[in-house]
Amino acid sequence: MVDISLIAMATGFVLILIGLYGALTNGNLLRMIVAFTVADAGVNLVLVSVGYMRGRTAPILDSAVPAAEAVARIIDPVPQALVLTAIVIGLGVTALMLAYAYRLYEAKGTLDIAKFSELKW
């Protein structure tokens, strides 16, 4: 039987590929930001699936998992902490990209990246 984390990791890589494809082939700025969001979800999925171990449970101590036997029963909490930070930073990056897109739209009146030609040579 295939492990859960393997399926999730494969899906995460497929999502990264889909997001990069969309970011590279679309001409609209907002569409590129949507594709980056999809790739972001894929990266988070890969990182969480790295930390998963079969048959163990979430690293939060309560009545179901007392502290005495926690070492044998919980999974590694470090990748989850990383992903928690990555999600919040992803929101910041998305908001910054949206602010830049809106500023570009105010300056040029369009969202098509083929029209932004000042830095081309």
Partner: protein, 86 residues
């Protein structure tokens, strides 16, 4: 007995998710897709509750709590966009 019934519940919830996903992919207008998105959020809450039962951890219910509180934010944003344009 209860285990078998909970497994059957997982299958039924998956079927409901599949039907809503079909309406999301095929819906003719944007509003149809928003309705399907809302329904999928509610089915997601049921998924989370069943998952917490299967794993036996009460802490999983907090995710369902966050969903129940915040699921209407996206729908209201879309409705405002459709209605007035900002």
């Amino acid at each position: 007995m209860a285990e078998a019934l909970v497994s059957l519940a997982v299958l039924l919830a998956g079927l409901a998710f599949l039907l809503a996903l079909w309406r999301f992919l095929a819906g003719p207008t944007a509003a149809d897709r928003v309705v399907a998105f809302d329904v999928m959020t509610v089915i997601g809450i049921s998924f989370i509750v069943i998952l917490a039962l299967l794993e036996g951890r009460g802490i999983y219910l907090d995710a369902a709590l966050v969903y129940a509180l915040l699921s209407f934010l996206g729908v209201i944003a879309v409705a405002r966009y459709l209605e007035r344009g900002y």
